[in-house]
């Protein structure tokens, strides 16, 4: 009798699993699915936004496969992301280590200050940094000239490397505080008895951090990496406002989202914009899968 009772319990609990996730999927099917399907279906059409759409089968896809600008934009976006992500992860891990293992006066204040850049809209940020660097008498050039740096004043936005690097810097600036908070939230979730045990055993703070904490917050790190890939590959706001959607200089900062926005809303070619979205979706899915597999380990939290 006990076994049957337990079995019934387990079955009931399975139902509860469905019930708990049900609200999410109901709302997703209503609000989330329609725009996605819309984009997918639009990729089979040619539409300029005003005249009726005409079906063109796989024409858009064929064009995408041989589109040099598309591949260039993907490469740009990936490069901007990597140059942003690595410092972001490192600085966040470093800060988390510092804050977890040391008593820092004003820690909460520091952490709040580092989170601030995340609060401001990307559009405002693009505007601000444009003012800092644009022209011979811009803020930064002013300083460089005053310090008698040779070669000043510089034409910063003539350099593709600089402009692309600036976008990466802005992304880092906006997200490193958030990443720190996330990692620290993950660390919080771990039972502190584990640290205490390690420290008592004579491990240094650094060893404890690297060998014990980091592996234990693997799910948090996976979350951070994958959401960063997804957000990073969809980057639009910052480079768009910095370069007025032109992607200058010479398309160095043309991200894929900017390319698709221009194709849709500027060239009035919505079907092709939709197909670029699909292409980007596949690339993001691929990169995320690769990242996930690289970071996953047997017996990890996602194995069930």
């Amino acid at each position: 009798m006990e076994t049957a009772h337990r079995r019934k319990r387990r079955m009931d609990r399975g139902v509860w699993g469905y019930l708990f996730v049900l609200p999410f999927f109901v709302v997703f099917l209503i609000f989330g699915l329609y725009p996605i399907l819309y984009t997918l279906f639009l990729s089979f059409y040619k539409w300029d936004g005003l005249a009726p759409a005409s079906a063109v089968g796989l024409q858009n896809f064929a064009r995408l496969v041989t589109d040099k600008t598309f591949y260039l934009s993907v490469f740009n976006t990936f490069r901007i992301w990597v140059v942003n992500f690595i410092p972001q992860m490192l600085s966040a891990l470093l800060l988390s280590a510092i804050f977890t293992f040391n008593k820092i006066r004003g820690m909460k204040f520091f952490r709040a200050a580092y989170y601030l850049p995340n609060l401001i809209t990307a559009a405002s940020v693009g505007l601000l940094f444009n003012l800092f660097f644009n022209g011979d008498k811009s803020l930064v050039n002013h300083i460089l000239v005053a310090l008698n740096i040779p070669g000043a004043p510089f034409s910063f936005f003539n350099s593709g490397a600089f402009t692309s690097g600036l976008v990466s810097y802005i992304q880092w600036w906006m997200w490193f505080g958030y990443t720190t908070v996330i990692i620290m939230a993950g660390i919080t979730a771990v039972d502190t008895a584990v640290y205490d045990a390690a420290l008592v055993d004579g491990a240094t703070k650094w060893q404890t951090y690297c060998r014990i904490t980091l592996p234990l917050i693997r799910p948090t790190l996976i979350y951070m990496t994958i959401t960063s890939i997804i957000g990073g590959m969809q980057l639009f706001d910052v480079p768009a406002t910095l370069t007025n959607t032109a992607g200058d200089p010479r398309k160095a900062t043309l991200t894929t989202a900017m390319y698709l926005y221009n194709q849709g809303f500027k060239s009035h070619n919505y079907g092709y914009a939709a197909v670029i979205s699909v292409g980007l979706l596949l690339i993001i899915a691929l990169l995320s899968a690769l990242a996930f597999m690289a970071m996953q380990r047997k017996g990890g939290a996602y194995d069930d």
Binding site: L29, L33, Y34, L37, Y38, F41, L42, Y45, W47, G49, L50, A51, P52, A53, A55, R63, D67, K68, T69, N130, L131, N134, G135, D136, K137, S138, P153, S155, F157, N158, T245, A246, D248, P249, R250, K251, N262, Q263, F265, K266, S267, H268, N269, Y272
Partner: protein
């Protein structure tokens, strides 16, 4: 669960296909009362009209409009220009919630004009042909589609000029008289000569070489696209050379238009001129001129030109066409209204009679007594016809990028042109690009 998902997918599919494939719906309501209603008095007209505008100027007409039409309520929603098309597109294609009037900036006005979503103003209940005689030609021609239907008008015209500093002209060129200075700027080479002279005295001629692009567009003999083929007019190629010479020799401030330094140069001691259309005076020079009041003047450069502007039209399925036309008429065809507006805001307007009347008035302090309306009136008689196409938006962007790369020395001219052609082909794959 699977079956449910499949059903939902099918429903969503059908919905979106229907949305995509449906041609723009909406029966054109021909108001049978149109003929008789056009004789209704202004007080009798009542209702509300919705307007979407990318700028704030239209709002300035509302007060005056309501004095004549007290019972017509005008709701203006300002939509940021950068996303105007993004906001308009879903609304137009669904046919719901479309404003009665919407504007179109010069970058995409041709796209809207050709789309047919603005009503033909020659037909009932409008009577635009009564007024087109008094409107500067190019304003009407930009608003006219290839079949000859007049679909959009504007309250403004934007002829261009070279706005220069009198004090520097006197010192370096020996005169500050607009006609004489204009004679010295009669060609690209002549401008470069003047630039060299100015440089000897430590003065940079231009705020930015990008300003000149405005002027060069009017120097073309052909538009960007002829018979669906990309055409690069010679004047654009010589513009590229001009840009490079200016950048190489340091004849400008090396800054983008609208950057702080560019705007600040109005008051500087080392920048000679801005090459901008009429709104440039209103929005750049006049607000900033403080110690330089009276030291500015306008003259003609190598060619007279027009650039920019905002047009507006009436939605073809609007239920309030009469009211909308009353407002549009007020802003775009009413000489008294335009004169009052121009007197207060200094903008150059689209009616010849209004501009002629304004030219009689006093000159501007900032311009040392020169009357900008008189100056622009003369320019308007000389400008070439409009060469705008629906492709201009992206082509101009691509061309500016290419010229920037060439002028800053990053690529050779051939490479720049090649990149330009590739970019145009990417932006508009239907065009033939060789």
């Amino acid at each position: 669960m699977k079956k449910f998902l499949a059903l939902l997918l099918a429903t969503a599919m059908t919905l979106s296909l229907a949305a995509c494939g449906a041609p723009s719906s909406g029966t054109s309501t021909v108001s049978s009362t149109a003929a008789s209603a056009s004789s209704a008095t202004p007080e009798e007209l009542s209702g509300t009209i919705e307007i979407w505008s990318s700028g704030e100027e239209l709002g300035r007409f509302v007060e005056g409009f309501n004095k004549v039409y007290p019972n017509v309520k005008v709701n203006i929603t300002v939509v940021p220009n950068a996303d105007f098309i993004a906001k308009l597109t879903p609304v137009l294609s669904s046919g719901q919630g479309v404003p009665d009037i919407f504007t179109g900036e010069s970058d995409y006005v041709k796209y809207l004009v050709e789309s047919g979503y603005w009503d033909d103003l020659r037909a009932d209940p409008y009577d635009v042909e009564q007024y087109t005689g008094d409107i500067w030609d190019y304003v009407t021609s930009v608003g006219t589609d290839t079949s000859g239907a007049v679909r959009a008008l504007s309250w403004q015209a934007s002829p261009g000029s070279v706005m220069y500093r009198r004090d520097m002209a006197k010192e370096v060129l020996g005169t500050d008289d607009p006609t004489e200075v204009g004679a010295m700027l009669s060609s690209n080479d002549a401008m470069l000569d003047v630039a060299a002279k100015l440089k000897e005295k430590g003065i940079k001629m231009f705020a930015s070489w990008q300003d000149i692009m405005n002027m060069q567009f009017s120097n073309r003999k052909q538009p960007w696209v002829v018979d669906n083929k990309l055409v690069i007019d010679d004047s654009m190629l010589s513009f590229m050379d001009m840009a490079k010479k200016i950048a190489e020799n340091g004849y400008d401030l090396n800054v983008d238009p609208w950057a702080p330094e560019w705007s600040a140069a109005v008051e500087s001691t080392d920048t000679f001129c801005y090459v901008l259309p009429s709104w440039g005076y209103q929005f750049v020079i006049k607000p900033a001129a403080d110690t330089t009041k009276g030291q500015w003047a306008m003259c003609q450069g190598p060619v007279p030109y027009v650039k920019g502007g905002t047009w507006l039209g009436i939605y073809k399925d609007s239920p309030n066409k009469q009211l909308a036309w009353a407002f549009m008429k007020y802003c775009c065809c009413d000489s008294e209204a335009q004169q009052a507006y121009a007197k207060e805001y200094g903008e150059y307007v689209s009616l010849k009679s209004a501009d002629k009347a304004l030219a009689e008035g006093a000159g501007e302090d900032v311009l040392g007594g020169q009357n900008p309306f008189a100056f622009y009136n003369e320019q308007m008689t000389k400008i070439p016809s409009d060469l705008m196409t629906t492709y201009d938006g992206q082509i101009n962007t691509a061309f500016l990028s290419a010229t920037k790369a060439y002028a800053s020395g990053q690529v050779s001219k051939d490479e720049a042109i090649k990149t330009f052609k590739e970019d145009v082909a990417t932006a508009y794959p239907d065009l033939t690009v060789e």
